[in-house]
Symmetry: C2
Subunit: 121 residues, 2 copies
């Protein structure tokens, strides 16, 4: 539809920690907003196109913290907008628990190189 | 901490429709971003303070669509930033299903007048 990029956002969640579904949703929203803010600063054309296209996003899972940190490091190494969420631990989780990573908005092909193999949560 | 407002965001979810937890989280993130964008346009000082404070947000539930639309209408009537999310229905839901409403960032007391009685999801 005339946009320069076909962009999406992927939020990657640890599957080895227990959170209620409302808590989980809040963590994912936090990651989505933090990654968007990063994109708005560094690649505003990606952010703008994504918002105009209806914010396409998916939520996927990784096994544990190691795998999450690996995904995060690869996103940063690829210079993608990426944000890692650390819970303050006021409820449900231990303080400082890393819960999820938001990647993008960024071009689909570019994100898929990192998250393409991960399953939907 | 020196901010003019003590702000938060509340995302209100229908409890009468079945969504997987990843799908639910994506809908909540969508509502959170849409409401934030509205705040950035109309009350940028609320949006800025909220982002600087670590984006405090909670996810609460209502019984059904009627109750959700009522909450949404009251938020708009109170001139709060508010966004309603309609799913495109590509997966899990019928096209056009209304899933949730994001309210704020806005001053806590102001939002609580509308959502203070709702239970955490």
């Amino acid at each position: 539809m005339g946009y320069e990029y076909d962009v999406k956002q992927v939020i990657v969640v640890r599957n080895d920690i227990k959170m209620g579904k409302g808590k989980l949703a809040a963590q994912v929203a936090h990651a989505a907003i933090a990654a968007l803010k990063m994109a708005e600063e560094r690649r505003p054309e990606w952010a703008k196109g994504w918002l105009e296209e209806g914010q396409p996003k998916i939520v996927v899972k990784v096994r544990d913290l190691d795998e999450l940190e690996d995904v995060y490091a690869r996103a940063l190494a690829d210079d993608l907008p990426a944000a890692i969420v650390v819970d303050r631990g006021l409820t449900q989780l231990e303080p400082g628990t890393v819960t999820c990573v938001g990647i993008g908005p960024a071009p689909k092909d570019h994100i898929d190189e990192i998250t393409g193999g991960l399953k939907l949560l």
